[in-house]
């Protein structure tokens, strides 16, 4: 521990602490902009500069470690002046289009201006950057970029994909893909993590709200909405609820209030996915234990960012992917077939909207193989943020809405579906069902949670020994089922490399493209709560635990569906619920 003085206050802090953190722990807030605790601590914006007595220059508080006897002033007149100049220089070539910007009132730059008490605009210049680069998932408006480099850190260090980097120099600097190519033309996975950390309106999802309004306002179109598991536990944040609040009932009510005809639950699609994917895993494992040729480990296919990653960087590992469509694509395909037929609706006049915590889903729903009977399975994807925006646009008093339920026949789900939204959840849901089928009993874990794969570690693994299997599966007796779970593409790279090198010891792997899974997906509300991951995780586990039925194969609504439709993995299921992938490495 060291003793130092900040603003004449004597503070005791541990040696490896930064000035920024020591100050914060003692109630002194040093303004900062680019700093993201544990992620981006590079001092690239210099806003957190402070005066350290004896130092030649101002020091950045986010990087400078505390020292014994240090004397720091965080708001001396020298510091305040420097901070204002820094801010004004940043503003000098920033497109100050706040009133017509998607980030108005949620912009960190705007907020910082208020904190610093900025008035006037001394360094007006012409904008150095003007490009707007619109891809199917992500839109980059470089006129709003302040070169803070958070997105570079996320893209390179956290995700390990390295699409965005600084190009050129000085006034010509652009945070861009190679040689300023459009983001849609390079191997971007559209995970959208950059859109979550961007402090301004420079990086955001490509807007789909207009298309959705058009469909809602067309009396000839039947609009179907569905919402992913992770949306209900984060949407509330956009309406002032604390992080970790579930607003499922209000969300269903709000969507209905928009004028939507059917409000379905992607959770239903998740239960269905478990039936299809569980069956696929069982098939592959049966081949494996019978000594037949098969491809293992099987890898989950729910995360479209991950899918685009493997297609772009590891195409030779595509056979390891489950052929299952993701839950919302399954539901979309069935809304326009199974549901439309049962209700006598004209599927051609249906418009399916998926609300997803994800930006890559926008790309996924546009993939040309994602169609049946000549119709796209899903017509538009809104992110959680966009759902918040459209609810506000519609003048809906969200907070005072009464809870409502999802519509049948695709509204009822088990707890297994809820946990699809977080790392380890798809694996756990699949194993709950596969184990029950093989063993005729429930997973031998406390509260059905497979403890080793619960949590936010980058790579988690578990081994489940199958002892006492049902007679019809006796070939599985004594098998140790090895599974691994990762979230974030740098973890995905490690596990895929193992498969490529032939050293992967696993039978089944779950990969989600975003760190922590969908709860912190690229389309989720941008949060500054440092415990956002833990809070969203625990509320989603609670959603699961609060349900009476917690295993997908117990879902009576899914059972009814298969009675009318066929069986998991049947020919018709393959046509509507499974897909194929492409080599995008070239």
């Amino acid at each position: 521990m060291v003793n130092l003085s900040i603003n004449n206050k004597i503070i005791v802090a541990s040696e490896d602490t930064t000035i920024l953190k020591a100050a914060k722990d003692n109630g002194i807030m040093i303004p900062n902009l680019c700093y993201l605790e544990g992620v981006h601590e590079f001092g690239s914006c210099r806003i957190c500069s402070v005066e350290v007595i004896g130092a030649k220059t101002l020091m950045v508080a986010c990087m400078t470690k505390v020292k014994e006897g240090m004397v720091v002033y965080t708001h001396s007149s020298k510091v305040i002046k420097a901070r204002k100049v820094l801010y004004e220089l940043m503003l000098s070539d920033h497109a100050k289009a706040c009133l017509s910007c998607n980030r108005n009132l949620s912009c960190e730059l705007q907020k910082l201006g208020e904190t610093l008490g900025i008035e006037g605009n001394r360094f007006e210049t012409t904008s150095c950057r003007t490009q707007i680069d619109r891809s199917i998932s992500i839109t980059r408006d470089l006129s709003k970029c302040i070169l803070c480099r958070r997105c570079i850190t996320i893209c390179n260090e956290v995700q390990g994909v390295g699409i965005l980097n600084a190009q050129n120099r000085g006034f010509d600097t652009l945070i861009s893909p190679t040689m300023d190519l459009p983001i849609g033309s390079v191997k971007c996975t559209y995970c959208g993590q950059c859109t979550v950390v961007c402090p301004t309106g420079a990086l955001k999802e490509t807007d789909s709200i207009e298309d959705v309004w058009k469909a809602i306002n067309d009396p000839n179109i039947r609009v179907v909405f569905q919402t992913a598991p992770a949306v209900r536990i984060a949407l509330g944040e956009l309406f002032g609820y604390p992080v970790g609040t579930s607003v499922t009932g209000k969300m269903a009510a709000a969507i209905r209030a928009l004028g939507v005809d059917d409000v379905f639950d992607t959770d239903w699609g998740a239960d269905l996915t478990i039936m299809e994917e569980g069956m696929e895993l069982l098939h592959r494992l049966t081949d494996f234990v019978s000594g037949k040729k098969t491809t293992l480990p099987m890898i989950t296919s729910c995360s479209p960012g991950w899918i685009k990653y493997i297609e772009s960087y590891y195409p030779e590992q595509i056979p390891n992917l489950s052929t299952c469509k993701s839950p919302h694509m399954m539901l979309g395909a069935l809304a326009k077939s199974f549901y439309a037929e049962s209700k006598g609706l004209d599927a051609k006049k249906m418009f399916v909207v998926s609300v997803m915590p994800c930006t890559a889903k926008k790309f996924e729903c546009s993939r040309e193989e994602m169609q049946n009977d000549g119709m796209m399975n899903v017509d538009a994807v809104l992110t959680t943020r966009e759902l918040g925006s459209i609810i506000k646009q519609a003048g809906i008093d969200f907070v005072n809405l009464k809870d409502e339920k999802f519509d049948e026949p695709m509204g009822f789900s088990t707890g297994a579906a809820d946990i699809f939204g977080l790392t380890g959840g798809v694996m756990e849901a699949a194993l709950r069902t596969v184990y029950a089928i093989l063993m005729g009993k429930n997973l031998p874990f406390d509260n059905l949670h497979i403890a080793p794969i619960v949590g936010l570690d980058k790579i988690k693994e578990a081994t489940i020994k199958l002892e006492g299997v049902l007679p019809q599966y006796k070939k599985f007796e004594g098998i140790e089922l090895r599974v691994a779970v990762t979230s974030g593409l740098s973890g995905a790279k490690i596990l895929t490399e193992q498969i490529k090198n032939g050293t992967s010891p696993y039978h089944f792997i779950e990969i989600m493209g975003c760190p922590s899974g969908c709860i912190c997906g690229g389309g989720q509300p941008r949060s500054h709560d440092p415990e956002v991951r833990e809070k969203r995780m625990s509320i989603l586990y609670k959603e699961d635990e609060n349900k009476n039925l917690r295993q997908s194969h117990e879902n009576p609504s899914i059972a009814r569906f298969y009675e009318l439709w066929g069986s998991p993995g049947c020919f018709k299921s393959h046509e509507y619920l499974h897909t194929h992938y492409f080599d995008r490495s070239k």
């Binding site: 390295g162 699409i163 965005l164 980097n165 190009q167 893909p177 190679t178 040689m179």
Partner: protein, 164 residues
């Protein structure tokens, strides 16, 4: 940069240019910290650094292509477009600038009918500027390929170019 190594590679006519670059990367141990040297030699071998060469270097060095292009676009010595037979480099460092470096650039733009960073239509000259070539005592200084011209007067440019 080790001149003899790169020259050896250039001399070896039997090896394709990409294979030569491949060898250079091995020579530098494929370390990302040696990227600038590798790019320098690659530019000597290939003449310039188009996207596919950058891509080749990035994959071989297990780096992201956006990092490699970030370095290439940062330094004015690297070019992503084909270069002329000769590269004219005008120093625009502080000393050369105040002693008329900019006049040299303006005069050359006029005489060659190209902008900075471009190459004449006959492929003879490329025009580049540098922030400082470390020859402040010779200001304003200019380089054509490896030859340095000191205290250059705009009126002398025509006769200098005529020797190429």
């Amino acid at each position: 940069m080790n001149e003899t190594q790169s020259d050896n590679c250039l001399d070896n006519k039997g090896i394709s240019k990409l294979e030569q670059i491949d060898n250079i990367i091995d020579l530098y141990g494929g370390k990302p910290s040696n990227l600038i040297q590798i790019l320098h030699v690659s530019q000597q071998i290939y003449g310039y650094l188009p996207l596919d060469v950058q891509q080749f270097i990035a994959s071989k060095m297990k780096m992201h292509i956006s990092e490699v292009s970030g370095v290439v676009s940062f330094y004015s010595f690297f070019s992503t477009k084909p270069r002329g037979e000769h590269t004219i480099l005008i120093c625009m460092g502080t000393a050369c600038y105040v002693r008329g470096g900019k006049k040299l650039v303006d005069e050359l733009r006029k005489q060659l009918s190209i902008e900075v960073g471009e190459t004449t239509s006959d492929g003879k000259f490329s025009l580049e500027i540098a922030r400082c070539i470390g020859a402040c005592g010779l200001a304003p200084a200019m380089m054509i390929d490896k030859k340095v011209y000191k205290s250059v007067n705009p009126n002398r440019l025509k006769s200098i170019l005529a020797t190429y």
